[in-house]
Symmetry: C2
């Protein structure tokens, strides 16, 4: 069993990519919808939430944990790696690796939540590879997806707004698990010359290389907020109607 | 004691207006952050949530309930009035009354969440007063406020987007308790000739006319989602650091 968690439903894009690579694996997905979004919260608060979820997943017997949330990966990964006795993957390193491989000009952009950009997790890693980096926080993009507005006029308006004034990058990292669902408006706003990097699929490749594909192909979903609301948002993101179970973290712990 | 509830923190604008009018009253505020936002959820789901909260408030002994959420007021008020043995105020009627009084041309606009617009609660009432109505759903505006972006470029971009293509209205109802916090960008986008109606203050006038101002001036805050996250969002909306208590509705009921 592999544990996967996100602040909400955005990590379902990572889960989908993982299941394509490891169809027989069992997964336990936790969406921390009761405390989402993480993107505007202080780093210590997000780290505390991530540790509680990791402890829960470890207690349920998972063999590895995928932090399917860029904000939590950016701010909490070292703490999670220290704390957990099992492998922990974040999504940041995968995105950095792919962008480093893809860029020709060495000028790379990253768009993400406020907390992810403020952590400088992407910028530091990319610069360590000798790349120039343009970074922009895009706090409204996650809401487009959660509102089911990925195909709307609002998505075009906000994609253009956030990518306006960018320098001549040739690669753009989608530094939030929700953004792959905005690929079309972001590609239109960025222009054909910019390659978009989606860390969900890159992360799945790395996890699949390290874990055998064995199990019963079961997925169990948990939400810290209302389960009906989680199922509803997941449907709006194109996930079939799974049953979702409630868990209580944090206040009760 | 008066019970006040909202899907989250937006109703705090109504609570603030109520406390200015009834400073000695005790208030019990419930923010249903564990299931927010309501604006994109089906009407039956929102009605179910509102009934659970009303039952909880009634059980706590409140003398009246203010539904400080336009979405819940628009879709659930008749059901709440039937169910409750105490007075129940919504915010829709107050906004309609003020707009009817203010308009000179008889052409009124209303902006609100998707669920509020879809319910046609404003449109039907305004048309019953013989007014022409322009209505637009603005699903992204609530997120601007909850992200602390009311003063941002994104607020200007989205206010212009949502008010583009409007007809020659002279009055615009802010049909969501979050929107008063976006008054400046909305006024700039609408132009000086358009009068903005804020239902929070109008509702407070109506409630204060019916209820005596007596009590200890205490306010107790409850959240169905994470209490630290609620306190954090409330601070971003300019509320001082109150202590917030957890309650469990719905799943447990």
């Amino acid at each position: 069993m592999i544990g996967v968690f996100d602040s909400g439903v955005g990590g379902l894009t990572v889960l989908q990519a993982l299941r394509r690579r490891l169809p027989r694996r069992d997964f336990l997905y936790v969406g921390d919808t009761g405390r989402a979004p993480y993107g505007r919260k202080p780093a210590e608060m997000v780290t505390g939430f991530a540790c509680e979820i990791a402890d829960y997943l470890y207690g349920r017997g998972v063999e590895a944990i995928v932090v399917a949330c860029n904000t939590a990966s950016a701010v909490a990964l070292p703490e999670l790696e220290n704390r957990c006795k099992i492998p922990v993957w974040g999504v940041v390193d995968a995105g950095v690796e792919a962008a480093t491989r893809m860029t020709r000009t060495g000028y790379v952009g990253v768009i993400a939540t406020r907390a992810t950009i403020a952590s400088a997790a992407y910028q530091r890693r990319l610069e360590a590879h000798g790349l120039r980096v343009w970074a922009r926080e895009c706090p409204m993009l996650v809401h487009l997806v959660e509102e089911g507005l990925a195909g709307s006029e609002e998505a075009e308006v906000l994609a253009r707004h956030y990518l306006s004034g960018r320098p001549k990058i040739d690669t753009l990292i989608l530094g939030c698990t929700h953004y792959p669902l905005l690929r079309a408006p972001l590609q239109r706003a960025a222009g054909d010359g910019v390659h978009l990097v989606d860390s969900a699929s890159v992360t799945a490749v790395r996890v699949a290389a390290a874990m055998a594909d064995e199990g019963n192909g079961h997925v169990t979903y948990y939400a810290t907020g209302d389960t009906k609301a989680f199922a509803h948002t997941a449907r709006m993101m194109g996930e079939a109607g799974h049953s979702v179970h409630a868990i209580d973290l944090g206040e009760a712990a």
